[in-house]
Symmetry: C3
């Protein structure tokens, strides 16, 4: 049993930029040399989230739209008096900060149309970090 | 420290079929012989989700209803032009693809009225897979 | 590789009490003596949830408000015929029961304004439990 740790860093382009992390995660699994175990990842920061989705431009647009509809920007939030991103925090906390993915036979056990993604919920382009660990043997 | 891996496969009956995974997960923990550690599980596919809920028929109906209300089917989604399940993807990504459960004294640390469930969000019956790992000693 | 297990127990003050778990989790990481690995935690019970948020009173109020708006109390739920907390279950299942946090150099990899929290969604003060494991080396 070993553990392999890494911080991924990347630039986002602004509100609800959705970053496909498949190749980054695959490289980390490969570098870890772990064939059986889990990959666990969490966002560093409170205005981003991790989930999986089909990385297809139309469903990504639908995802942006439903977030705008469910948790609208600037809807009289108290936090907006000190910052302008209350909705970013709310969306992030509901989607969630972490995911874990099974590794079996050296491969992440995900569907063909299922990609792990970072959802940038903040209101401006930012440098973002995701912490990743692979644990197994 | 060891890791025990398994793919669970089962048939769902259609939209918002909710499958209680307690007995499958308990068997995996028992088969793993791990007394202290975690069970980590993720959906394979982008139209299913994992969470916990009280597996009681009325609250399950309420859960179906709130998903229909929050993320309605066929609400003009772009992805529906190429498929008919945009709402399935959106619901899955918001609920989330993975959960982890503590194992202490050989038992999953869950409440009496708390069951781990697979939520089938796709629009038709399907064969579904959940990848499970138990890590510990 | 080792695993360190713990049950945290605390009292909540009622509906949407939000408990900052940072110091409890930090102590567990420190006690585990694990420098590289993950902390995995799950709620024991089906009317609480775990996530991360900026622990700032205004954004916490906004979080309470958005939950009341998205999943209102007493909105004709079937489960309310046998209990009065259908909305508590629905909110808990959508936010999610578990989170995992990377540990690198002996420190949880979280943002400065990002705190792991227990969200009490039940309708009355309760004694609550969170199961925590640290796995790594």
């Amino acid at each position: 049993m070993t553990v392999f740790s890494k911080i991924i860093q990347f630039q986002t382009e602004g509100e609800i930029d959705i970053i496909d992390l498949t190749s980054e995660f695959s490289k980390i699994v490969s570098d870890s040399d772990i064939k059986k175990g889990i990959l666990s990842a969490n966002v560093i920061g409170s205005t981003g989230a991790l989930t999986t989705i089909e990385y297809e431009s139309r469903v990504l647009d639908d995802f942006r739209e439903i977030l705008h509809k469910l948790i609208p920007k600037g809807a009289g939030y108290k936090h907006d008096k000190i910052d302008s991103n209350a909705h970013s925090h709310l969306r992030a906390s509901i989607i969630g900060p972490s995911i874990s993915i099974s590794i079996q036979n050296g491969i992440m056990q995900l569907g063909t149309w299922q990609q792990p993604v970072f959802v940038c919920l903040d209101v401006r382009p930012r440098s973002r970090k995701v912490a990743v660990n692979v644990i197994g043997e």
